[in-house]
């Protein structure tokens, strides 16, 4: 077993460090003075790095499978469904594990499936240890494979998309220099790929991290990479402001993260997830075993106020809470909640959840491959990954907040997406909404469902971003949907792959059979968990109703996007002539991702992917938590979720069809002309100046309230949160102005005052020196007398 752990860690370490090596080489090689800016060498090198990374992670996955002789796919009792190969994509990993299925099941002791260890020790204070270590389980491997695969596709797409940077003199149309002309600068092809490699390094590091401190390190590194990538067009003021905004909002999230870290560090004394095997053979419990031990319950004291940490090992290696109070290491329950919320605060900042989501739409300033990789598939998903990884530490109250935050985010994201006109903004808001979904999934106890949706969303969202990228490239950087229309004939492949993506996200499926798009399976899993959850705690009914509603809205705005851009008459004739299909580098990945988006969740709950994810779910999640006793929220167990599958699935499907049909009527066929609705709601239009007026013929309750709410949500978003942010900034600047005045005025003032006063005193003393000798002599007599009187008066008595 030990050797397997090492092999796995080395393989994943290679996959992790390769992009860093790529970054270093690209930065140096390309900054060499004579490097010609036309060569695509940088792109090919980056693709090699991340591709090889993907190969390593799939080998690691294969090794891991063998090591645990594929218990992962045999865990579920009723055998495994039809032998559909998980993914047709042609690399050998898929083929490999297909034929292994029929190996005989041997019943020896359960193989070790979780491997943890240390790379090297950062610092050691007394018995507090901070180190870089790795934690490999099925979730890590799944994330590795997913991230490297999608990153490879996006890198290939980017070589095509960024081709225009391959020129020595790149004219940036959006930037106007003071003399009115456009800004000229040399192409920056290589710089883009170096940043992308650095990003992959940081993202993989985050996934591989073995302790929460290491997660925080790569958390910020990923934040910096998003800053660099958003602000790629450094000349555009809007780009650099968006980059600043993204970084500072992430930092606000990190502020919460640090507070969480502080509490954990002070009360638990360690950061590492797994148990640490000290050199002297002594085993130190990791966070999870301290908090949850082996059975998944918190060891609370009788009054339920403080939690006793399990720091002692009983006979067969299970961590128990020590009996004598003197040995006990305790943490108050409220502090544990605050720690959970703190870490979740970090996730909110990174995954653009409810209070801090304003930066993600602005982040669309970055080139589209960036939006595809960073702001849809990987980085924003890091928040959900961390919530998943840190799941055992979240107490039910925290899970409830996560659920509500997810729910609100999903709804707000979806409603704003309705009114968005920029194609990338629509996708950005839909990402926010889907992330809300994942958080909701985790919040309501569906650990597997949340992460399942994470993986599927990564596939189809990156697919859709890349399609929008190829559309934008096709229409010569035109992003506004009103100017497009009827592109189906001109860009067939992009249109069809986009349709696959749209259907996946809408969660369409052929009722009755189990053939469905990946979106359906993962969204169905979340809705099922939500339904089971609302059954157990009826007062939280909203946690099922709102997601259902959002599912409908999601399919509506996604199909609106598709019909609006690809069907109907081309609205801008001049633009229409120049539209052309993207070259193969761009359409190839689209096809690959389309296949992935369609089939990656084949088999739904008992498909390969879901089993893969849920294999290493935290202990005690499967059979749910009965909150009644401790009058907290109870979480649905696996069986409860299973029953509510069918009802939730059909409800979701219905909502999706309704949404699709409405958007078809409004945009596809054009039965109702959107223009006259705009006239009726002219005032609203003025109000939504930067949002294209929403035409809605049907006065159905569903549409009007959605519109009002959208307006309200957009308003909140624009006038409330941005305002809050701007007021903070203005307040900060005001305080700093006061601070500077105080600093120069008061403190410097005092010092100068002292200096000047002594100086003036000095000057005044000069005129005592009159120069008249007679006054001097009088002074002798006078001072003798005064001295005598003084001495006489102050003579120390007795």
């Amino acid at each position: 077993m030990e050797s397997l752990g090492n092999r796995l860690s080395t393989l994943l370490a290679i996959a992790w460090l390769l992009p860093l090596f790529g970054f270093v080489v690209e930065v140096f090689a390309m900054s060499w003075p004579n490097a010609n800016r036309k060569s695509k060498a940088a792109a090919y090198f980056a693709i090699f790095c991340i591709g090889f990374g993907f190969v390593c992670s799939s080998i690691a996955f294969y090794e891991w499978g063998n090591g645990t002789d594929w218990a992962v796919f045999k865990a579920v009792d009723h055998g495994h469904g039809e032998a559909a190969t998980a993914t047709e994509h042609g690399d050998h990993a898929a083929v490999g594990h297909a034929d292994h299925e029929h190996k005989a099941v041997t019943h020896e002791t359960p193989k070790q499936t979780v491997f943890a260890g240390t790379f090297y020790n950062l610092a050691q204070f007394g018995n507090l240890k901070v180190s870089l270590d790795y934690y490999i389980d099925s979730l890590t491997l799944a994330m590795f494979v997913m991230v490297t695969l999608i990153a490879t596709c996006i890198h290939i797409f980017a070589t095509g998309y960024m081709a225009e940077e391959l020129v020595n003199d790149y004219v940036d149309h959006q930037v106007h220099t003071h003399d009115g002309g456009h800004f000229h600068r040399p192409g920056r092809f290589y710089k883009f790929f170096s940043y992308m490699s650095l990003f992959c390094f940081a993202m993989l590091g985050l996934v591989l991290a073995g302790n929460i401190f290491q997660v925080f390190i790569f958390w910020e590194l990923v934040g910096i990479c998003s800053y660099l990538l958003i602000g790629f067009y450094v000349e555009r003021h809007s780009a650099s402001t968006a980059a600043n905004k993204a970084f500072i909002v992430n930092r606000v999230g990190d502020f919460g993260f640090i507070i969480g870290l502080m509490i954990l560090w002070t009360s638990f004394g360690t950061f590492s997830f797994a148990d640490q095997h000290g050199t002297d053979g002594k085993v130190q419990p990791g966070l999870f075993s301290m908090a949850r031990g082996h059975d998944g319950e918190l060891a609370k004291t009788t009054d339920g106020k403080t939690v006793v940490l399990k720091t002692e090992q009983d006979g067969h290696g299970h961590w128990e809470a020590p009996a004598e109070p003197s040995h006990q290491k305790t943490i108050t329950y409220t502090l544990l909640i605050v720690a959970g919320l703190g870490v979740f605060g970090g996730c909110v900042g990174k995954s653009a959840q409810f209070p801090l989501q304003t930066w993600l739409p602005d982040a669309m300033e970055g080139p589209t491959p960036v939006s595809a990789l960073v702001h849809s598939a990987t980085m924003v998903a890091a928040g959900v990954y961390l919530a998943g990884r840190f799941y055992p530490m979240f107490v039910p109250e925290v899970l409830l907040t996560i659920a509500y935050v997810g729910c609100i985010t999903a709804f707000v994201g979806a409603t704003i997406a309705i009114v968005a006109t920029d194609i990338k903004k629509v996708l950005a808001y839909s990402t926010i909404s889907q992330l809300g979904y994942m958080m909701l999934g985790l919040g309501v106890g569906g650990w597997g469902a949340g992460l399942f949706h994470l993986v599927t969303h990564a596939c189809f969202k990156s697919l859709m971003f890349l399609c929008s990228g190829s559309v934008i490239a096709g229409c010569h950087h035109e992003q506004e949907m009103p100017k497009m229309g009827g592109l189906l004939r001109k860009m067939p492949i992009t249109a069809l792959t986009m349709l696959v993506g749209v259907m996946a996200i809408a969660g369409l499926a052929i009722p009755g059979t189990s053939i469905a798009f990946s979106g359906y399976h993962s969204k169905d899993a979340i809705l099922a968990t939500a339904l089971a959850y609302t059954k157990l705690n009826p007062i939280h009914f909203l946690l099922f109703v709102v997601p259902l509603l959002t599912a409908g809205i999601t399919s509506f705005y996604m199909f609106r996007l598709w019909f609006y851009t690809f069907l109907g008459k081309p609205r801008d004739q001049h633009l229409h002539e120049h539209v052309h299909e993207s070259p193969w580098e761009m359409t190839g990945p689209l096809l690959l991702l389309a296949v992935l988006a369609a089939g990656c969740a084949i088999g739904g709950e008992d498909g390969k992917l879901f089993k893969m994810l849920t294999f290493s779910q935290p202990v005690g999640v499967a059979d749910g938590v009965d909150g009644a006793a401790a009058h907290t929220v109870s979480l649905p167990g696996h069986t409860a979720i299973h029953e509510s599958h069918s009802t939730a699935g059909s409800a979701a499907l219905l909502a999706a069809f309704i949404g699709m049909s409405i958007s078809y009527l409004v945009y596809g066929k054009g039965v109702i002309n959107p223009a006259d609705i705009k006239r009726q709601a002219a005032s609203v239009h003025a109000f939504l100046a930067n949002k294209w007026g929403f035409d809605d013929l049907y006065d159905v309750m569903f549409v009007k309230p959605a519109h009002v709410v959208a307006k309200f949500a957009a308003a909140i978003d624009k006038f409330v949160f941005d305002e809050i942010l701007h007021t903070f900034v203005r307040m900060g600047i005001a305080v700093s102005k006061w601070d500077r005045k105080f600093d120069e005025g008061v403190i410097d003032g005092i010092v100068n005052l002292m200096g000047n006063s002594t100086y003036s005193l000095g000057i005044s003393l000069r005129n005592v020196q009159t120069g008249k000798i007679r006054q001097y002599v009088t002074f002798i007599a006078v001072s003798v007398v005064t001295l005598f009187v003084l001495l006489f008066a102050l003579y120390p008595k007795g």
Binding site: G755, T758, Y759, G762, I763, V777, I780, Y795, P796, K797
Partner: protein, 537 residues
Amino acid sequence: MNEIGLLVQRLLDETTKTSVGLFVPELVLSGTIVAMLLCRILPLLWRVPAQWIALLGAFTAFAWTLCQFDQLVGGTMQPTPIFTGLLMFDQFATFFRMFLCLFLILTITLTVLSGIPDREDGPDFYTLLIGATLGMMIMSSANHLLMVFLGVEMASVPSYAMVGFLKGRKKSSEAALKYVVYGAGAAGVMLYGISLLAGLTGTGSLPEIGHRLSMIVSQGAGISDPIVRTIVLASLMVLVGLAFKLSVFPFHFWCPDVFEGAAAEVAGFLSVASKAGAFALLVRFGLAFSGGSAAVSEIAFALGIGIGVLAAATATFGNLSAYGQTNIKRMLAYSTIAHAGYMLMAVSALMVMKYSKHGGAESTAATLSCIEGLIYYLFVYLFMNLGAFAIVALVRNQIFSEEIEDYNGLATQCPLLCFGMALCIFSLIGLPPMGGFFAKLVIFASVFKATSVHWAMWFVLGAGAINTVFGLFYYIRILKAMYLKPRPDGARKVSYDLMPVGLFVLMICLPTLGLGILPARFTETFNNVASVLLTGR
């Protein structure tokens, strides 16, 4: 009839056998004065310039006092009062006489270099110079009230004349007049005080005063007792005379005007030599009260506190009023006032510690360090101040001005002189590597010890600390002018070659650094001097 004969006989052999032998350095100096006056008259000696005679005389006097000092320290000679108790011959006095002779040599070489007294009135100048030094040497070894007055007068009168030496200038004549009038006034008051004191105690010699006073002062008498009042008044008046010589706060008015009027060399001489003599005398006078009863000690204790307050006032006044000065000599005058204040703090600490009620061994060790601090400060002060005045004199010879503005950008032209001035200035401020810092540290340490005796000394220590910071402002203005400001192109060129001038400046300024880095050797000798003075009594 024969008692008178006996008396005269005893007097004769007492003076011839012992006193005259010990009085040789002073006699040598008197001899040089006579020689110089002779060379004015005898055509044979006309060609020999007076300064070489003066220098020769000063060297022999210095050598003599040096070997006297070694013998005293070595123990071969015992400290004894000479001339039937008029003067006291001990380490303390001999050290000061050696100090004054050394200073005399340096001043004479300075005047040779800066050429103040031209050939034909050279002898007169050097006569006055040596005469004043003689007066100060007597002051430092005075053991009798008569000698106190005689020493002060002998030191002051020649310096009145020296101040007015540049006959042609209006300023120097005005300065001389002011100095004469003020000096005479102060001397008069002092004499009256001395007469009262002599009358009260019925004797002139300082050691007996303490005993005599304790006889006439009844036990536990406060200020209300008339005898105590007259003693306090009398000693106050005597202190006035000394305060005038030290330019302590209420009696310092003459100092800025005289220093500005007089030539820089004379001002240098006055600032250092007269202070040394006066401080020696003040210490002896302060110790005169010792040995008395508790009441007398109480008087002395009160005087000590009074002096401490005066010292703080002097230091603060000196530093503050130096701010706005534009003439560098006047600024250095105020700086000498300030340094007099610092040194006076040591004397006040001495008196407070000596006469504090709960005396004991610990306080004698403390008084030891007060005197050691005072002597060390004077020793460093000699080099600091003389260096500063010498450079002012040398620069004046080239640019004919003593305004600080005219010093702008001097560093670019004569780096050596400016380096010397920088050393002196930093030592005057009291920055650590320089001697000035260690001197101030020792004095502050003794004042710090005195704070345990009486709360007022905290005020004195505080004033000392603040003044170190105040002092920074005006001292730095000189360096700022020299180093930081560019040399205006119209200004005169200042250039000195290394050989006579540069070497001299280095010889004076480097000891300020040396004393800062290797104070060990000097502290031992000073410690020995102080212990003999205190325990010898």
